[in-house]
C-alpha cells in the first residue's frame, strides 16, 4: 500500500519553505565564513602567526556548516550510519595525514 503521492506533496508544502530558508541560511553562513577567511589574510588586522590557525578554524567551521546544511548530516537515527562513516573516515584520515606530516617533517629535519 503506497501512500498517494499527491496528498503527500500537499501535506509537506509548509516544509518546503522551511527547507528553503535552511539552505539559504547555509548560503549566508558560507559567504560570511569565506569572507572572513579572505579577510584574515588580506585585511592586515590579523597578526601573521594567527593567520594559519585562523584559516584552519574557519575552514573546519565552514565544512561543518556544509555537512550539516547541504549534505544533511545530523544526529538522527537514519543518518547515523552516514555520520559514523564520516567520523571513522575523519579518524583514519587524521591518522594518515597527521602521520604523514609528522614523519615527513621529522625526516626533513634529520636529512
Amino acid at each position: 500500500m503506497k501512500p498517494n503521492i499527491k496528498t503527500m506533496v500537499r501535506s509537506v508544502t509548509g516544509e518546503e519553505s522551511e527547507e528553503r530558508s535552511f539552505y539559504s541560511l547555509g548560503l549566508v553562513l558560507s559567504i560570511l565564513l569565506t569572507v572572513a577567511s579572505f579577510a584574515t589574510v588580506i585585511s592586515g588586522l590579523v597578526p601573521r602567526d594567527w593567520m594559519i590557525p585562523g584559516l584552519i578554524v574557519l575552514a573546519i567551521v565552514q565544512i561543518v556548516v556544509h555537512l550539516r546544511i547541504f549534505l544533511h548530516i545530523d544526529l538522527s537515527r537514519q543518518k547515523r550510519e552516514d555520520l559514523l562513516m564520516l567520523l571513522f573516515t575523519v579518524l583514519l584520515l587524521g591518522i594518515m595525514a597527521f602521520g604523514t606530516l609528522w614523519i615527513m617533517s621529522n625526516l626533513a629535519v634529520r636529512m
Binding site: 571513522f88 583514519l92 594518515m96 602521520g99 604523514t100 609528522w102 614523519i103 625526516l107 636529512m111
Partner: protein
C-alpha cells in the same frame, strides 16, 4: 604520428629472444612468453571447438550473479597463481646456483622477483579473497545478491585488466625490476625510461580501483542487505572479517592509487613527486606505499581468519568459542592496521621517538592476533574434531603461523629491525604469514565450499596429501631463509659469495620443488574430483554439517540463493535449526523474484582499461583516448536505456525448491564418520543434536 604503436617495436617481442641469443636465461624468458601466448591460443581454440563462446558470454562474462563472479575471481587467481609458483621455482633454482653467479642474468632475476611479488599479492591473493567474499557474503547474510551487482562485475573487469597487463608484459617488452614495492627513483624515468615501471603503475592503479570498488560493494552489502533479524552480532565471523576487510579496501587503496598516479605523472608528464631533482622526495613514496601496504596485509589475512573461525567450529562440531572476542579482535586489527605503516621503513632516518611509537603500535596489533589463535584453540578444545583436509591445513597453520607471528614481533623492535630489514629474514617472515596464514586458509576454504559451489566434494585423499605437501614444502622453502637472513643475506640479491649459504639454499630449492608438487597435487585434486563427481556429489547441499545460512541451500544454490529471504533469530542460524530438529522448512508462500539483468559492463571496462593501461605504457596516445572515450560513451549510453529486472516467477521458485525438499525427505542423514564417504549426499546428521 610517426608510429601508430607508440614506442612499441618488433624488438620488444620477447618470443624469439632465445633464437637470437641462446642461453638458459633467454630460454626461460622466451618459454614464459610462449606459454602465455600458447595458453591463450589454446583457451580460444578449446572454446571454439567445443562451441562454448555463447555459453561463456551468456552464463559467465555478462552474468552479475555474485556466485559466478566469485568463481571467476578464483579462476583468475589460479591462472596467475600458476605463473607465480613457476616464477618462484625458477627463482629458487637460480638462488641455489647463485654462489658467485647463477643461471639467470641479474636483470631477468630482478624482473622475476618483481613480477612474482606483484602477481602473488595483487593478482593471486587479492582475487582469491575477493572471490571468497563475493561467493560467501550474500549467502551468509541471507541476501540474493550484492548491493551493486553491475559494479561487482566492473570490479572483476578492472582486476582482470591489471592481470592482463602483467601477462602482456611477458610477451611485449619487459616488466619493472624494482620489486613489488617499485620504489622510486629507481623506477623513475631518469633511471628506467623503459616500459617496465609503466606496466607496473597501470596494472596496479587499474586493479586498485577494482579492489576499492569491491570493498565499497561488500561493505554496503553487509551494512544494508542482511536478512531480517540478523543483527551485527548474529553475523558469521567470516562476514565480520569480510566487513573489516571491505572497510580496509575502501580506505587503504586510496594511498596506493595516489602513489601510483603520482608515479605515473612523474614518468609520463615529467612531474617531480619522487624524482631526485627539483624538490622531488622519494620518501613520500615509501610513506604512501606502506600506508596502503600495511593495511593490505590485513586485507588479505582477515578473511583467512574468518575461514579458520568457520572451519574450527564446523569440524569440531562446536559453537565458536569467544565470538565477541573475535569480533573485537577483528575490529581492533582493522583500525590499528592503519597506525603501523612506518615499520616498513624504520631505517629511513627518522627520530627514535617515531620509530618507537610505530614499533609499539606494531607490537599492539599482535595482541588481537594472538587472541584469535587462542580462540581457535579454545574452540577445538572439547570438540569432536574430524581430520578432514581443512583441519590438516589448520594444524599446519597453528604451528607455522605462530612462528611467523613470532618473527613479526621481533621485527617490530626497531633496534633489531636495523639488522634484518631488507634481508632474507623479511622474505621468510612475510611468506611465513602469507602462506600458512592466507593461502592455507584459501585451500581449506576451497575444500569446504567447493561442494557448495559445484555440487560435489573434492577428493579427500588427494586433498590431504596435497595439504601435507604444502606444509612440508613451505617449511623447507622458507624456514631456512630466516637463518641466512640473520647472516646478512639481502633480499632481492641475485648472487652471494658466502659458501655457508649454499646448503640452506639447496634445502630451499628442494622445498620449492615440493611446493611445485603440491601445486600439481592441487590440480590433481581438481581433476580426480571432477572425474569422480558422481561419487562425490552432494546435491542436498550440506556435506559438512554446516552452521551458517549458505548450507541451508542446495548445492549448487539456485541463481536467487534463497526461495524466500530467511528470518534470522540468532548466530549460527542453520545449526540452531538443526539442533532444534526443524531444518528445511517449506515456506508458506512463494513470490516472484526480481534479479538484476545481465550486462556487458564488466567486459567493456576490462577491454577499455586494458587498452588504456597498455596505451599509457607504450605511449600509444590514440588508443588511450579511444579507450577512455569509448568506455565513457558506453556507460552514459547504458544509463540512458531502461534495464528491466529479470523476473523469476513464483512457480519456478516453488518447483525448484520443492524438488530439493523432496530429495531431502527421501534421503537419510549421514553420520559424521561417513562424511568423506560416498554415502555423503549433503544431508548431515549433526553431532550437536546428539549432544543436546
Amino acid at each position: 604520428m610517426d608510429n601508430i604503436f607508440g614506442r612499441l617495436t618488433w624488438a620488444d617481442v620477447t618470443l624469439f629472444e632465445v633464437f637470437k641469443d641462446p642461453s638458459i636465461d633467454t630460454a626461460v624468458a622466451s618459454a614464459a612468453a610462449w606459454i602465455a601466448v600458447l595458453g591463450a591460443v589454446a583457451v580460444v581454440a578449446l572454446l571454439t571447438f567445443t562451441r562454448r563462446w555463447g555459453w561463456l558470454w551468456r552464463e559467465w562474462l555478462t552474468s552479475v550473479d555474485h556466485k559466478k563472479i566469485g568463481i571467476m575471481y578464483m579462476v583468475l587467481g589460479f591462472v596467475m597463481f600458476a605463473r607465480g609458483i613457476f616464477e618462484g621455482v625458477v627463482m629458487r633454482t637460480h638462488q641455489a646456483t647463485a654462489l658467485d653467479g647463477g643461471i639467470l642474468t641479474p636483470h631477468h632475476w630482478a624482473e622475476l622477483f618483481s613480477t612474482h611479488g606483484t602477481v602473488m599479492i595483487f593478482f593471486v591473493a587479492m582475487p582469491f579473497i575477493t572471490g571468497f567474499m563475493n561467493y560467501l557474503i550474500p549467502l551468509q547474510i541471507g541476501a540474493r545478491d550484492m548491493a551493486f551487482p553491475m559494479l561487482n562485475q566492473i570490479s572483476l573487469g578492472l582486476t582482470a585488466a591489471g592481470a592482463a597487463l602483467v601477462m602482456i608484459s611477458l610477451v611485449l617488452g619487459v616488466f619493472e625490476t624494482g620489486g613489488w614495492t617499485a620504489y622510486p627513483p629507481f623506477t623513475g624515468a631518469a633511471f628506467d625510461p623503459g616500459p617496465g615501471p609503466d606496466y607496473w603503475v597501470w596494472a596496479i592503479v587499474i586493479s586498485g580501483f577494482g579492489s576499492m570498488f569491491s570493498g565499497m560493494n561488500f561493505a554496503v552489502t553487509i551494512y544494508k542487505m542482511r536478512a531480517p533479524g540478523m543483527k551485527y552480532l548474529h553475523m558469521p565471523v567470516f562476514c565480520w572479517t569480510a566487513l573489516c576487510t571491505s572497510i580496509l579496501l575502501t580506505f587503504a587503496l586510496p594511498p596506493l592509487t595516489v602513489a601510483g598516479l603520482m608515479q605515473g605523472l612523474d614518468r609520463l608528464a615529467g612531474f617531480h613527486f619522487f624524482t631526485n631533482d627539483l624538490g622531488g622526495n622519494m620518501m613520500n613514496y615509501a610513506n604512501l606505499f606502506w600506508m596502503f601496504g600495511h593495511p593490505e596485509v590485513y586485507i588479505l589475512i582477515l578473511p583467512a581468519y574468518g575461514i579458520y573461525s568457520e572451519l574450527t567450529s564446523t569440524f569440531a562440531a562446536k559453537q565458536l568459542y569467544g565470538y565477541t572476542s573475535l569480533v573485537w579482535a577483528t575490529m581492533s586489527i582493522a583500525v590499528i592496521s592503519f597506525c603501523v605503516w612506518l615499520h616498513h621503513f624504520f631505517t629511513m632516518g627518522q627520530s627514535p621517538t617515531i620509530n618507537a611509537a610505530f614499533g609499539i603500535a606494531t607490537a599492539i596489533i599482535a595482541v588481537p592476533t594472538g587472541v584469535k589463535v587462542y580462540v581457535w584453540m579454545a574452540t577445538l578444545w572439547r570438540g569432536r574434531i574430524r581430520f578432514t583436509t581443512p583441519i590438516v591445513y589448520m594444524a599446519g597453520f597453528f604451528i607455522l603461523f605462530t612462528i611467523g607471528g613470532f618473527s613479526g614481533i621481533i621485527l617490530a623492535n626497531p633496534a633489531i629491525n636495523y639488522q634484518v630489514h631488507n634481508t632474507q629474514f623479511i622474505v621468510a617472515h612475510f611468506h611465513n604469514v602469507l602462506l600458512p596464514g592466507m593461502l592455507f586458509a584459501i585451500f581449506a576454504g576451497i575444500h569446504i565450499w567447493f561442494p557448495k559451489a559445484f555440487g560435489f566434494r573434492l577428493h579427500e585423499t588427494w586433498g590431504k596429501v596435497t595439504a601435507a605437501l604444502w606444509i612440508a614444502g613451505f617449511s623447507m622453502t622458507f624456514l631456512p631463509l630466516y637463518v641466512v637472513g640473520l647472516m646478512g643475506y639481502p633480499r632481492r640479491s641475485s648472487a652471494y659469495d658466502n659458501p655457508e649459504f649454499v646448503p640452506y639454499m639447496i634445502v630451499t630449492l628442494l622445498g620449492a620443488f615440493v611446493l611445485l608438487t603440491a601445486f600439481a597435487g592441487l590440480v590433481g585434486t581438481f581433476v580426480v574430483s571432477i572425474r569422480n563427481r558422481r561419487d562425490l556429489a552432494v546435491p542436498l547441499g550440506d556435506p559438512w554439517d554446516g552452521r551458517t545460512l549458505e548450507w541451508a541451500t542446495p548445492a549448487p544454490p539456485p541463481h536467487w540463493n534463497f526461495p524466500v529471504i530467511p528470518q534470522v533469530r540468532a548466530r549460527d542460524a542453520f545449526a540452531l535449526e538443526k539442533v532444534e530438529g526443524r531444518p528445511y522448512v517449506v515456506p508458506e508462500e512463494y513470490r516472484d523474484i526480481h534479479l538484476p539483468p545481465s550486462t556487458m559492463a564488466g567486459v567493456m571496462c576490462f577491454l577499455a582499461t586494458t587498452g588504456l593501461g597498455f596505451a599509457l605504457t607504450w605511449w600509444i596516445w590514440w588508443l588511450a583516448a579511444l579507450s577512455a572515450v569509448s568506455v565513457l560513451i558506453w556507460l552514459i549510453g547504458h544509463s540512458l536505456r531502461d534495464h528491466p529486472h529479470v523476473v523469476i516467477p513464483a512457480k519456478e521458485v516453488h518447483r525448484s525448491n520443492q524438488a530439493w525438499i523432496e530429495a531431502i525427505d527421501l534421503a537419510t542423514p549421514v553420520d559424521r564418520d561417513h562424511e568423506t564417504k560416498r554415502m555423503n549426499r549433503g544431508f548431515a546428521a549433526t553431532d550437536m543434536a546428539e549432544a543436546t
